[in-house]
Symmetry: C2
Subunit: 120 residues, 2 copies
Amino acid sequence: MLPLLEPQVPVVPEAVAPCCPPLTERPLTADEAEKTARMFKALGDPVRLRLFSAVASHEGGEACVCDISDVGVSQPTVSHHLKKLKEAGLLTSERRGTWVYYRVEPSVVAAMGQMLGTLG
Amino acid sequence: MLPLLEPQVPVVPEAVAPCCPPLTERPLTADEAEKTARMFKALGDPVRLRLFSAVASHEGGEACVCDISDVGVSQPTVSHHLKKLKEAGLLTSERRGTWVYYRVEPSVVAAMGQMLGTLG
């Protein structure tokens, strides 16, 4: 009997997967708005938005808490906010040795950009 | 003596004008993050996001409270949220007769899309 293959699971949890058409196409449903508002909300805090841009612009496209020191908040606060961004589906993380490295989840962020970008 | 000409004022208030480079370019400054987080926060509420998409996708690119009836909140609540979106710089408004018509402010929304779009 053949071993069962690991099923191909999507990297992005369903709850935060990009879901929605461009905002000019049609009104969002309640369900779509619920999912998407979560992502916008995660970027709606100035400290969190700075941390997100710090990760996005860091060399190699990833950063750990150890790389981020100039936002003027404590290391536990940085960790807290990076976790929130991850829960919203905007960052992924990987532990390597002592540190957790965060990276932007491009598909989710691009989907947000697309929802807005068609309005310009 | 010549009459003073009305000065050319920008349509978008300075406080909410698109300000920032793509998020991959460099970390946002505290001031840039403060301005931009306000816009993301405005879209970070499910009802507000639905109303925003209702305006954006409405015929002619504009809508009044009278056009929006299927989001399941009262008319005063719709008005309240549309005002919040306007304060964040995402909508403009114009009174015509009985109703205030709202329209997406394309430059601001496109700037948000651009900040995110480069990450895809």
